[in-house]
Symmetry: C2
Subunit: 469 residues, 2 copies
């Protein structure tokens, strides 16, 4: 498409992260024409500078420790990873930040891809700044905002001048810093702390404002993850806040803490949260305000309209790639239905009820639905069952002296599972069965007929079954 | 208990394999008194000479290959396993075939454990031959037969005189034979072929009567497993039958095949099937016939009685440990209900409908429910969806160039999943989500709300979701 031309599509999608990608493909399947607009790289943060490279950095360490937990596998279990090989593989996984093949795939699938910075320009209109000039686009059916979220640096004196790492540098760096300090003890901070430690950082310190790790999960989660971090050589400082950050001429970063101690490091990773990227996308041209997360209804439509949608991180419902993909399908289905003059049949009913999340730390954490505390706060009459995953033969065979824990939250009145938590090596894929139980509202009485295969780790479900008999 | 004493229990359980163990614990939980009778070791074949030691032999090789499929993890990916360490660990896992600690656990749980050979001696009566003499026991409520199944040697001239391995030697041997021949290409034969190859056997040949591997599964299963076997150095001969077996004075075994070739090896593992252990357990004293598998109703009761039950392999419903454990709980619930004068509320409705099975080959195979062919043979209007597991980012991050495949069988009229198959590295625990879907009869329309976490392998479920939209 030539600049200055005015083009018309059924749908214009702003942002080609997972949300934008998946909604584009779903819209194309539904027979609609789509323009996909992205100023940076297809795949967005997740594919290029977050979950994907992060997992590529973590997984070799996990596989190495998994092998070391079995007899006779590793010649020297304490031998370090070949970090250069891992980093080269990471680059390969993210396609060396070259998205030309992916762009071709989208074009072949029928999408128009426009590289440029897009913003709303009135109702059903978008303008894209491309290298060749501004491009005007009309969206007959809908505009979908999938502009994501960006690292939100806290207002700490000296921080922004100290060249801190965000998730971008933290996942794309080409060598492990000798000393790494991590500000923030959420999932992303803990994952990258463990990754760089396994890749050769001699000293990794996580600085946590809170007194426990991962307090939003079941209480044992933070305890087990802390054990794993300490074993892998990551230090954690609890209950500390950074009050000033400086980087000296030799490149050393100093973090002054509120307990009057100073942590020095070669790099400082800031992983304290994200903010919606909504400030400069023309929301004011349609009478809306940018800056914060965008509130949507369960069809992902914004501000009471049926033409403007917001999916993925930007709507703030759950800053997780898979929920973005879920929103992407829901929005596409709603737009396709409305384009036929029908009411949307599919809404994002899983949001807030059955959102899974996996932390790729070692041990891994995989959760879905409500914690016990959350269920009780919501007034549910709950029953809570906890089990030792290491007591299951399938786990003992998976790793010698396997350590892990599982719990379920039952809504006694509904008679169904409303939450589950798994902690241990290789539990990431175990949570999907729990998500089935939660979303499928399988009566707990029927769970006795859901037989787990022996010897697998899923056998731990028998602990729940036996509680019910 | 002293021999010649006559003792009385609510329930007598013959056989302390997984079925006997689990039903004993469930009966104790229900407040019934139980005598558990076992001539050999608690845990039965599964724990002592089958699935458990087999998995202990296989898992190190799997973890080794998994580590080798990621960059930078192994110093020398082709280095062999330390077989002595693996075998020593296998011995530790099976408690060196010393069940005294397990016996103590059962006694502490409230069971009476009697080491001896038990058989029926009329209605609600059992006699046990113990080292000290015969013991008479009365079972007020029920006798449960959990006597299992044993390797069934085919009638091939010379075979039984050639000291073949069955699952017992195949899982307990203390060194890898230089050359191993395997008669039978079912799950057990393939697993042990790959295990011993990874533990140092230079030549492993599987002799298959059929022309394809694993023909009872979806067609791609046998193809992918064959690829994995060949890559790990296991040979497979298709469409051959052994017509004579000899072992010479030097210890070499020769298997004469019906295509006029001869396979020579140091050991011959026979894995052609199992037969019920029902020949000498006194069935004739209650007017029943032994020898074959025992047909039971869905409460596991035998021959129209409400006092005689048969659970696990011995009833022939599914020769799988986890189904034995399922039967164990169903029978215990039925006996507990009947002891209170109530009708059993729980029956074995999952049998034949939602039976999972995992093959711990590399690639692993995990299935549940009906194959497409089986569903069609049963007259269901089916839809079949197949997906490339290697196309999923979660899998690509789990292992470089991950190869795997997944399929689902949908009953179009019921609108639910009735079968699923997973093939690939580490899919063993992925099938449990499918078992939830099958047993929970989750409407396929609801599966779009069962969000798989990114990046995990469960993301492959999105292929099914997208087929439905």
């Amino acid at each position: 498409m030539t600049p200055n031309e005015t083009a018309e599509y059924d749908v214009v999608v702003l942002g080609a992260g997972p949300a934008g990608e998946d909604t584009t493909l779903a819209l194309l399947r539904a027979g609609l024409s789509v323009a996909l607009v992205e100023p940076e790289l297809i795949g967005g943060d997740c594919f290029n500078w977050a979950c994907v490279p992060s997992k590529a950095l973590l997984r070799p360490g996990h596989a190495h420790r998994a092998a070391g937990r079995l007899p006779g596998v590793l010649e020297s279990p304490s031998a370090p990873l070949d970090a250069a090989a891992v980093l080269a593989h990471r680059d390969e996984v993210v396609l060396h930040h070259d998205d030309s093949a992916t762009v071709r795939e989208f074009v072949q699938a029928g999408a128009t891809f426009i590289r440029g910075y897009g913003r709303l320009d009135g109702e059903r209109r978008v303008v894209v700044d491309t290298p060749g000039g501004a491009v005007q686009i009309t969206a007959d059916q809908a505009v979908i905002l999938a502009t994501g979220a960006v690292a939100d640096l806290p207002a700490i004196p000296g921080l922004s001048q100290s060249r801190p790492w965000t998730n971008r540098e933290g996942t794309s760096a080409n060598k492990a810093p000798r000393r790494l300090a991590v500000l923030g003890s959420g999932p992303a901070g803990l994952e990258l702390a463990q990754a760089w430690r396994s890749l050769g950082s001699e000293q990794v310190v996580v600085l946590s404002r809170r007194e426990t790790l991962l307090p939003d999960f079941e209480p044992y989660v933070g305890e087990l993850v802390l054990e794993g971090l300490l074993e892998s050589g990551v230090e954690v400082r609890f209950g500390v806040q950074a009050v000033e950050v400086t980087r000296d001429n030799a490149g050393e970063v100093s973090v002054q803490l509120d307990d009057d101690t100073v942590v020095t490091a070669d790099e400082l990773l800031v992983a304290t949260g994200k903010r919606a990227f909504t400030g400069e996308i023309g929301l004011e041209t349609v009478g809306l305000q940018g800056g914060g997360f965008l509130e949507v209804d369960d069809t992902m439509a914004l501000g009471g309209t049926t033409w403007l949608y917001a999916i993925g991180d930007v709507n703030g419902r759950a800053l997780l790639t898979h929920q973005a993909s879920y929103h992407a399908r829901v929005a596409a289905a709603a737009i396709a239905a409305r384009s036929r003059g029908e009411e949307p049949r599919v809404t994002a009913e899983a949001d807030g009820v059955a959102v899974p999340q996996v932390l790729f730390t070692d041990p891994e954490v995989a959760v879905v639905g409500l914690t016990r505390a959350r269920a009780e706060a919501e007034g549910l009459r709950t029953r809570y069952v906890e089990a030792d995953l290491g007591g299951v033969l399938g786990a003992q065979l998976h790793a010698h002296r396997y350590r892990g824990r599982v719990s379920w939250v039952i809504d006694e009145d509904a008679g169904t599972v409303v939450g589950a938590t798994f902690v241990g090596q290789d539990v990431a894929d175990m949570v999907h069965a729990a998500t089935m139980a939660v979303v499928g509202r399988i009566p707990i009485e029927r769970l006795r007929h859901v037989v787990p295969s022996f010897p697998t780790m899923s056998e731990v479900w028998l602990n729940l079954v036996d509680e019910l008999t």
